[in-house]
């Protein structure tokens, strides 16, 4: 009682806790052991700065941020190089030589008759110097010398004229021929075959995968499900290069046997698409099965109670209830099919072609990236830059699909219980 009174009595008269402590220590040190313990505790309970902990927390935060750095890295690198792809002037050979020596002042001169024809407003390069063509007449061109901040110097006869061109967005998204050697950059030649393989893959995986999911979740016995589901999942872990081997050595010969080897080329998008379908089948069935199993039992029992058959329960009650999960599975599977690389690199053919015939060879976006980066790719070449432009498109497509899938799950989820 005494201590308490003293403590309480002292508190208002002193401004800070520290002073209490000091007074306690000096004036009443020997008075009460309990008192000392309480004041010590007061010291001990104060939050001490813990540098080690803060350091660790900072490191952990950094680890979390690394994923953002990766994303920024992907977007920055893809964006930067793609921008170069669309803005950098590519110098292509025209096979057209200078007809005579020219010095630094000449603005009108003759060119050889061979090679690519020149037009007005075209930017050309002779040696290190860039020029803009003002007029063209009978093998004689009028130019603006020292264009693009280059120095006008003299050139000797026979030096080849290079043509400068820029790939426009309109050309990239509007044309259907892709051939960097002759400066054709129409993405549809590649995107079309990507869509073709993906459509074939979904046509295979969606009906089979969804049916298998319904079977596993609604019909199969507990034991069968316990065996079949892991089997499907293990096979989803087989590397895609193995699926590529399978496409080339099993699916292609099979298709050629069925449809005739005159119709089906050795490399074709149908074979690659079907095998991609087999690859994403476990993904579709496993994710859909999870969604179907998550539908509460009470819904099924209510349907049975109304006299519905198993099929009616499954199709009219369970599948609609699990719709968001199934849709998400399908979207993720599409995104996977678009980004799939090794199967198409092995089985779909090497060489861009704009065709809707699934039995013809056609290179996809991913297949093209693998093929041109496989050799000794020199930096700052149009091939190197085009790789990033294709990559950016691929990234945006798959990212968009993944975001849509997450949105679908969030917004269309039916909440039960």
């Amino acid at each position: 009682m005494d201590c308490e009174n003293q403590l309480m009595g002292q508190t208002p008269s002193n401004v800070s806790g520290k002073e209490i402590m000091v007074e306690n220590r000096t004036e009443e040190a020997a008075m009460d052991a309990n008192m000392a313990t309480i004041s010590d505790l007061k010291v001990g309970l104060k939050k001490r700065p813990r540098f080690g902990e803060n350091l660790i927390q900072a490191f952990l935060f950094f680890c979390g941020v690394v994923s953002i750095i990766i994303t920024i890295g992907i977007v920055y690198e893809l964006g930067k190089e793609s921008l170069l792809f669309f803005t950098r002037r590519q110098w292509e050979e025209t096979n057209k030589p200078l007809a005579f020596d020219i010095d630094a002042q000449v603005t009108q001169f003759a060119v050889g008759s061979s090679g690519m024809s020149l037009r007005e407003d075209q930017i050309i390069r002779v040696g290190e110097e860039a020029m803009r063509i003002v007029a063209v007449a009978d093998g004689i061109i009028t130019v603006e010398r020292g264009y693009l901040d280059t120095l006008a110097v003299s050139h000797s006869a026979g030096v080849e004229i290079l043509n400068g061109r820029v790939v426009t967005l309109g050309e990239f998204f509007g044309k259907t021929e892709w051939n960097p050697q002759i400066g054709k950059f129409g993405i549809w030649a590649l995107a079309n075959s990507t869509l073709l393989t993906s459509v074939v893959a979904i046509l295979v995986a969606l009906p089979l995968g969804l049916s298998a999911a319904i079977y596993l979740s609604e019909y199969a016995s507990e034991r069968a499900r316990k065996i079949l589901k892991p089997v499907l999942e293990v096979l989803a872990g087989v590397p895609t290069v193995v699926y590529g081997y399978f496409a080339l050595n099993f699916m292609t010969p099979l298709l050629r046997n069925i449809f005739g080897s005159g119709v089906v080329e050795i490399y074709n998008t149908a074979s690659a698409g079907i095998v991609i379908g087999i690859l994403i089948l476990p993904l579709v069935s496993s994710m859909s099965e999870d969604a179907l199993s998550a539908v509460p039992r009470s819904l099924r029992e209510a349907a049975y109670g109304l006299g519905a058959t198993k099929l009616e329960t499954a199709i009219k009650v369970v599948v609609p209830a699990a719709f968001s999960g199934i849709a998400a599975a399908v979207i993720v599977a599409i995104s996977r099919a678009i980004g799939e690389t090794m199967i198409v690199a092995i089985a779909a053919g090497a060489g861009p072609a704009f065709t809707f015939n699934p039995f013809k060879a056609a290179e996809t976006m991913t297949g093209h990236i693998v093929r041109i980066s496989g050799g000794d790719l020199s930096y700052d070449s149009i091939d190197y830059n085009s790789l990033f432009a294709i990559g950016l498109m691929l990234f945006l497509m798959t990212l968009g699909l993944n975001i849509i899938s997450q949105r679908v799950v969030k917004h269309f989820r039916e909440e039960y219980e």
């Binding site: 902990e53 690394v66 997450q406």
Partner: protein
């Protein structure tokens, strides 16, 4: 009994009866459709494995320049001869110039018996494959094959070959499919995985701890979480492009080893094991984070609360209670991520895996090839023999994956037994 209501009931129930049959028929029909779909799915997936096994074994008809039996000395087959006699056999069957060249490359005193025997097989016997058969043909058309071999190639030898064998695992890469092996590729895979794990494991687990134990529900942490989920869905080839731009090109000084004074003109371009490992590390990072988060989430919160109740700090709680309990789950998730990384091909092609390497990689700055890259290259070759060794290489890869997955399952089982 004859009330109109009862009549109505009877007609309705007969209507009901009439309706039930077709409904049940439809139900049965669709049930068999679902069943068949599942069976087709399983068949399609097993066809994958059967194709590979079918190509990895089978009869081979070998034709040799010299019949090995004629090389036997005093009735002892050439395979069983001691080294000295093998040297004599070699000397008498090849030109003196060639023998001296071998002597010059490496004196015969220093060569092992196996080495000399290999030289005899390479230079004297020189077996060549005339035809090879798949496993199914070898089983079902065995008599035809034996007859064909006896009639068409009487001097040739018919052997049932397992393309996957110890020599295949041991031998380095070679342009000759009969002598090619996967040793350099297996080492390349192991080296790249090592660096991938060194990068991704600490950062991945750190990020998972941060998100589960430290992060408040604010915008930046929500962005981090969404971002990780999205990164997990980015196609692997995009990581390859990122690796090419960042590790191979931008950090060339570091990844080529130039900053340490490693001057090797063949590796000076940054297309090294280190670049490949770091690229794979970025690739598996989201998977490791997500798996580790699941494992940490599963630690009962009573444990944490008990620890906090005793006055432990957040890190003390994490280090002494959360992590030890979540570790088996984290390890399982990491192993699964590794097994994904081992099978990755596309990003490594983009990063610049070498196509032909005969020397084992010996450090982070070596050029590299990996097992899936090897499979890809052999699959792309037109010659039939490469198809067989590609199948054998696939079996090696699948065995590596199988043992990894088995260890993950073992870990998981131990974990679930303990709780």
């Amino acid at each position: 009994m004859d009330s109109p209501l009862n009549n109505k009931l009877i007609t309705e129930s007969s209507l009901f009866e009439n309706n039930t049959k077709p409904r049940h028929r439809t139900a049965r029909f669709w049930m068999s459709i679902f069943q068949i779909s599942t069976v087709i799915a399983i068949i399609a997936l097993s066809a994958l494995l059967i194709t590979i096994v079918n190509n990895a074994f089978g009869y081979v008809i070998y034709e040799s320049d010299v019949d090995p039996d004629t090389l036997a000395v005093n009735g002892v087959a050439v395979d069983d001869l001691p080294k000295e006699e093998l040297m004599a056999v070699l000397q008498s069957n090849i030109s003196q110039g060639l023998y001296r060249r071998f002597e010059h490359d490496m004196p015969f005193e220093e060569r092992t018996r196996e080495d000399v025997l290999a030289l005899i097989y390479e230079r004297v016997i020189d077996p060549k494959v005339v035809t090879q058969y798949s496993l199914s043909d070898s089983i079902f058309k065995r008599s035809e094959i034996v007859q064909f071999a006896a009639v068409e190639y009487p001097k040739a030898e018919l052997i049932f070959q397992s393309w996957i064998n110890w020599d295949f695992v041991k031998a380095p890469q070679s342009g000759d499919p009969l002598r090619a092996g996967v040793r350099t590729a297996v080492f390349g895979s192991l080296w790249t995985i090592l660096f991938a794990v060194l990068l991704a494991f600490p950062i991945g687990v750190g990020a998972a701890i941060y998100l589960q134990e430290y992060a408040d529900d604010n915008w930046i942490n929500r962005i981090i979480q969404t971002n990780i989920n999205n990164l997990a869905g980015v196609p692997s080839i995009i990581y390859g492009i990122l690796g090419l731009a960042i590790f191979v090109r931008l950090l060339e000084k570091i990844t080529s080893g130039a900053f340490l004074g490693v001057v090797d003109p063949t590796t000076a371009n940054g297309r090294t094991i280190l670049s490949a490992g770091l690229t794979l590390g970025l690739l598996i990072l989201p998977t490791i984070i997500i798996n580790a988060q699941e494992a940490i989430k599963a630690v009962p919160s009573s444990l944490k609360q008990a620890s906090y109740g005793l006055g432990a700090t957040r890190w003390q709680t994490v280090w002494h209670h959360v992590l030890p309990n979540a570790l088996p789950g984290i390890m399982t998730g990491t192993i699964l991520a590794i097994s994904r990384a081992i099978g990755e091909t596309a990003p490594l092609v983009v990063v610049g895996a070498s196509t032909f390497i005969t020397i084992d990689p010996n450090g982070p700055f070596s050029k590299f090839t990996t097992l899936p890259i090897q499979i890809y290259q052999w699959t792309s070759r037109p010659q039939d023999l490469f198809r067989n060794i590609a199948a054998a290489a696939i079996l090696v890869l699948l065995m590596m994956l199988l043992s990894l997955n088995a260890s993950a399952i073992l870990l998981r089982n131990r974990f679930s037994n303990r709780n």
